[in-house]
Symmetry: C2
């Protein structure tokens, strides 16, 4: 090995490549020094930069990815995962190869749970479960675990996901949609005073952030009976949440905290243990709680990725800091829409606009396809609105850098100047 002919850099922070195009004759790879498990999440990996000259084309230019989920992940998390993919911390194996009952993976899942508990300040009377199957599986699991056939669930439906939750629950118990925004094309959240909750509802279900419609609860209703259950798939860990206000919080990881294939359920322990007798074993919270999410083989690599994201969020200063950044990005984008003199429009009522998913349309709707196409040319991708809604949608989750929103806003101004 001509080791002495190499150039490299060592720093005490993880190096993040810039998003500017690089000559295709250069590439960057990153090795992270193996560290022992550090439960504080404060360790700063030492990063080595290895520059390799090649004659092949190895583009390292990243796009700004506005997809609604799976969605963009923090660059430093991806680089850590890349460095450790082949051999995690000198264990001699990839995280993907580890026995889920071995000490290495146990340290990973335990740290992930511990960091998530820190982030959301989850009280000890709540269990944290790492499951599979997405929020859609929870649409079934919730009534199966929490209701008998003659029980009633109240639903406030502010978008398509809340609506799907109702449809699935109907299989297992009574459902009462106490408010729906459907007739107003899901652009609002109701005033909580107006809600007529059922006399004996088992629980009140909301979708805290509707990914497709961009409607987000800024505060939460109180269940008159029972407790509040919230699908937080698309705003999970995007801001502080008072977990004690909820019976259950659940969400797919693939928006804010990891890759698809991991579902996180935070559930008050006293609600566990009363599943219907025909509940599939993998949908029974008791099974997963008793086995610390290891009843069968969990989605290990996905949980590992979530753990890296939790670590990153803690390093950013926790969810208060994360919320500030999200607010700043959202303000920038909504202000650009509002300041366009109607060239761009957001259909959602101002007070409940999502910090995560920003749907917008063009006054001249015939230009929307061009907008999306031109943006993609400038490396801003996945801006097309959901097929059920049309228009555009910019998902600006935790991991979307401010620079991505700034670039989008500049592009919008240019586009308006050209076509306004």
């Amino acid at each position: 090995m001509a080791a002495s002919t190499n150039s490299f850099l060592i720093g005490n922070t993880t190096h993040i490549p810039t998003l500017k195009p690089k000559p295709t004759s250069q590439s960057f790879l990153h090795l992270t020094k193996p560290t022992t498990v550090n439960l504080t999440g404060k360790s700063k990996p030492i990063s080595i930069r290895c520059a390799a000259a090649t004659t092949t084309h190895v583009p390292q230019e990243r796009v700004f990815n506005f997809a609604a989920g799976p969605a963009t992940l923090p660059e430093n998390v991806l680089l850590k995962a890349q460095a450790d993919l082949y051999n995690w911390r000198g264990s001699g194996m990839s995280v993907m190869e580890m026995s889920h009952r071995g000490k290495e993976f146990l340290s990973i899942i335990q740290k992930a749970e511990s960091d998530l508990r820190n982030l959301l300040e989850i009280p000890s009377e709540y269990s944290v479960l790492f499951l599979q199957g997405g929020a859609t599986t929870q649409f079934s699991a919730l009534p199966l675990n929490l209701c008998k056939s003659d029980d009633t669930i109240d639903f406030v439906v502010t978008g398509s996901w809340g609506d799907k939750a109702v449809k699935e629950a109907k299989k297992y118990c009574n459902t009462n949609v106490i408010w729906s925004g459907k007739s107003e094309k899901y652009t609002k959240v109701p005033s909580f005073d107006e809600l007529e909750q059922s006399m004996h509802a088992k629980y009140l279900h909301i979708c805290a952030n509707e990914t497709i419609h961009g409607v987000e609860f800024k505060d939460y209703p109180v269940a008159k009976n029972g407790y509040l259950v919230a699908d937080m798939s698309s705003n999970f860990c995007s801001k502080p949440v008072d977990v004690s206000k909820f019976g259950v919080i659940y969400g797919g990881a693939q928006k804010n905290v990891g890759p698809s294939g991991v579902t996180i359920v935070i559930i008050r322990k006293d609600l566990i243990g009363d599943a219907r007798d025909f509940t599939p074993v993998m949908l029974d919270y008791k099974i997963h709680d008793e086995n610390s999410s290891l009843y069968n083989t969990p989605p290990c690599f996905g949980i590992y990725m979530c753990g890296l994201v939790f670590e990153d969020l803690l390093e950013q200063g926790g969810l208060k800091e994360v919320e500030k950044k999200n607010q700043k990005k959202a303000d920038l984008l909504y202000n650009a829409i509002e300041g366009s003199n109607g060239f761009f429009k957001c259909p959602v009522e101002k007070s409940v606009r999502s910090l995560m998913n920003v749907p917008f349309t063009l006054e001249k709707s015939e230009l929307e396809a061009e907008f999306i196409k031109e943006a993609a040319k400038e490396k801003m991708v996945q801006l097309k609105g959901h097929r059920s809604v049309g228009g555009m949608r910019a998902s600006i989750y935790n991991a979307m850098p401010l620079a991505g929103v700034e670039k989008l806003v500049a592009f919008m101004k240019d586009f308006q100047a050209k076509h306004g």
Copy 2:
């Protein structure tokens, strides 16, 4: 960048690092040239070797990992995944960040299915589904989709997993265990002629390879009524299988074909579409079939990894070649056990010993803990038998190199010489 001072190698095959210890002052990273999607699976990626001298400790030594699952993965697959993790083929994003409805991920899942169909020669009247939740979820999904409450399933139970399948099916219909190896500690497969199948069984269920007990079907019974259903989690894609003999083949990916979090179901299309009305939507095969496994967000990165493994298996020459390698590895290990004059013992009847999972004990059982500990010191890990069985177990799936089995056999001989 001091590009001209770098050393690198370009070859027309993927370079796989040896398993010999490397000086910790050197490390190897691999970049794979991005290629366009190639549906033949024949493309040979160009590999670049980048040697970096560092003063930090970056061990790249791999262990031989005999875990039962999650299990060792092909090194070239891990290196490809590592090279592309941050930016898949110049797309500007990781596979983990891609919209599951975008053209990039669609090309990945479609190629994975196509390659799997090639590998197993899956007839067109079968659907291939990429699901979540492991085989355990299928223990519920199968009766929910295929049986009414008064239907009967016949079970041949050759180990713990078959037994678990019975217990779950009892929730949904009648179960008839027509043979169980439990009283003989799960060491046999029955003669098929002896089996007294139910008159009107809906299907006959087997676990084709019992991971814990190391019992493998070498041929398959024919269902007198209905069809054969097989859990192939731990020998999936380890050898050719005549899919047309089965109604359903299913398995978790985390033994032979990928990371945990992906479950593959191969099902005859005429069996789809008759699920019980209380079947959770995510357990309904019809939903997944109609939506090409994209009803909700699938475990994208896991499916991508499975696709890389399928590609690798095709490049090895397909499942006939893979079976030869597996047979050779298993012969080596079983012969070592048989040739030890009783120092090592395998409890399983010779004719049905698994090519994948090799359980064995020591005549002097008090030495087992030392055996496992000493082997780990020599970088052979996860040799402890399942907690329900004890002793040792060497899982030697597709991705376990012959060198790993050779090293284990040499170690066994040394251990015997020392303690025999």
